[in-house]
Symmetry: C2
Subunit: 248 residues, 2 copies
Amino acid sequence: MTYCVAIHVDRGIVFASDSRTNAGVDYVTTYSKMHLFTPQPDRLFVLLSAGNLATTQEVINRIQRDLEDPHAQTSLRTTKYLFEAARYVGAMNSSVAHEHTDELQQSGFNAEATFILGGQIRGHPPAIFLIYPQGNYVSASPETPYLQIGESKYGKPILDRIIDPTIELEDAARCALVSLDSTMRSNISVGPPIELSIYPTDSFQLSHRVSLRNGSLYFASIQKQWNIGLREAFDSLPPFDWELGENG
Amino acid sequence: MTYCVAIHVDRGIVFASDSRTNAGVDYVTTYSKMHLFTPQPDRLFVLLSAGNLATTQEVINRIQRDLEDPHAQTSLRTTKYLFEAARYVGAMNSSVAHEHTDELQQSGFNAEATFILGGQIRGHPPAIFLIYPQGNYVSASPETPYLQIGESKYGKPILDRIIDPTIELEDAARCALVSLDSTMRSNISVGPPIELSIYPTDSFQLSHRVSLRNGSLYFASIQKQWNIGLREAFDSLPPFDWELGENG
């Protein structure tokens, strides 16, 4: 399993992903699910991946090959709009998965992968897209300024409460870390290191990219402080009326 | 969809459930998913239900019929142990679902239901059981003192952080309300009123049973205070090192 989230606020985009991959419970490994492409100074793409590892790797490899091929008809270098890049990755995703679907299904496996593509091409605003296994995509909106792939439910409530388009990038990044922490506590197949990238609008480079291991000082302090804060929030919830009666 | 949770702590059991039922998005209704059985003074059962409404209603009806039949071989009146009651409800659940499985599957529906049965029979400690559509069951444990059915993921992180066997029943009840609130915010098919029952160990009666509508004063104050507390917890998270640098 996997959990990746991208948050698009006015000031830019935050990307976060876990790094645990498993084929059954007895083959658990660590792979980065965050891929950065900066083929030209006028554009930056971050791709987050979930699902079949072979499919995601093949998609990444083909994207890279197209970038190195000066004659490639379409690549992340040639797309004029971000949604065209999403269509390009989507078509590739669907085609790679189809190659292996029949054989994998016979063995009880699933070839599908899901991606989040985010970034900016000069002349257009930044955006994030969720790319489905079938190749189509949806983008985030001001009302729902984030996208998730993989094990998304445990980490959704905190996003719904905290994220709005006006917040600072660092606050969005902290919210992503809390969202990942909640997910890792509830689903053992989502695990560290957590990769975190921050893209400020119109900068065409990541301002920060960090990899936080479980023992890392900052992540440990986030986890500890969040636990303390939640406990305080819980302890300040109002009493039931019969508890008041008992004290009165 | 549905969300029900039962929390078993040293001082007793807390049961909570939403009340929304839907057959598609254009047929949304309200049904209680919390059923109380007190056939004799030496025993009390609370049954929470999720899944196919017809199946859950038929199971409840049969349980009631067996209780009214003085010659019934097995009923909630005759079981000596709580796990026997779980087996009894499980066998009934599986058999009711099987009656309709084939026809429902042809129409693309699912006959399955899942239950949580909790309570106490005198001479034995209280317990809670999750009863699967196949009729088998699992009980909670001191390490995992709660059980959930239905849309369980959104509301799980707060349970994992707050619940331990030593807490007060009212704290467990507040935690259940927060867990339901988080779920209702993220999944529109889980909705009010929230029913909440509190069973103190060895009392053989519910100390409190309340139904909280969305506009209810207490539930609104829980929602508001929890939002404020979460925001405060979030605002007190430690800054990234580069944020410190900017201020220094």
